[in-house]
Amino acid sequence: MTHEPRGRGPSLRLVGKDDRSGAYGTASVTRDVDWSILMARAQEGDRVAYQRLLQEITPYLRSLAARRLRDPNDIEDVVQDVLLTVHSIRQTYDPSRPFAPWLVAIANRRFIDRLRRGGRTRDREIPLTAEHETFCEPPANLEESLDRHELEGAVNNLPPAQQRAIRLLKLKEMSLKEAATVSGISITSLKVNAHRALKSLRKMLVDRSEP
């Protein structure tokens, strides 16, 4: 609080400068004074004030970043970069001076760094696409959905008792006991039905693949 009277004068002067970069009116003056006070407290080790300050500047930084960068991931990443920089050089802030120009200067450096890095990446690297991944990851190469449709069709052709047994025991992978309690069918009958179902499924699927 002791910094408030000192902070008010210069911030009025420099918020005029800030207006050109997009902060508006008296609201930004009071906001700047608030941030100055919070930062001054943070420098003295007040964690609550520091957390509040970082939470308040984050949306502001996002809006600044959105003017320079397109990709939302980039924006979030660069906002985090700015927060880390603010943290590592927080002793350079002088509470008698306005906070926003200090923050904006740091933010601009990080935005420019990010844009440069983006340019370098575009020049030298080719991003991996879905096609590239198909070659690296085995599951991507297997069309499992087709097999599943065929199996579903075959199961639907079974008699209802066998259908229920195969769904509970094999597709949902229940134990005999669980399946018996869920369906109310005896364990023996489930076993028999599942056995018959597998047998006819095997017959159906083998027939289909070897016509």
């Binding site: 080790g45 520091y50 970082l54 050089i89 927080r90 350079t92 306005p98 740091i106």
Partner: protein, 223 residues
Amino acid sequence: MIKTPDLIASLAANATPVRRLRPPVMRAACWLLLAAVVLTLLAINQGIRPDLVQRLSEPAFAVSMATSLLTGVLAAVAAFLVSLPDRSRLWLLLPVPALVAWLSNVGYQCLVQWVAIGPDGISLGEAARCFATLVLTSLPLSLAMLVMLRYAAPLRPNAAAFMGSLAVAAITATALSLFHTVDATVMILMWNFGTAVLFVGLAGVFGRRMFRWVAPRTFYARD
């Protein structure tokens, strides 16, 4: 990627009290005080050049000394100013008038009174002592400047390194003309322009790397 609210929470948890930096002009004054101490120690150790008083009465020499010293002072002030995020980049122009006066004065002197290296103009021993002065002056001053400017690393490393090295070069050149009889034109050129180019060049090549070395850790941990 860590989520931003989590990052904020962890930063807030690490918010140890920090000591605010003193005003930049005062920090420059501290560095210049160190420079004065180094020069005094060297003067005690090596001795001032014998004809200093006589030479100082010559306007050309006096102007050259004064402008190189002024360049050093102004460059140090500018270095500490541009190392802060919210100060204008235009402060880089602060030492320019003194720098121009210094270098043009040296250049003009060389042009009008070219003194070739005479038979006793330069000896290997003198050159070695000159070099010793150069290293003894510039090394502690460079290291001190580097450590004092470390907060500029995430912001304007090149500008701060450039100004810092210009300050070191100017002070070193002043020291050389204080302690050594370098009257041959080539030697004057070498020790004045040479030192300036040497330090500014070194800063250009190694500035970023050196800053990375002393920079606050949290920033570079992510790279």
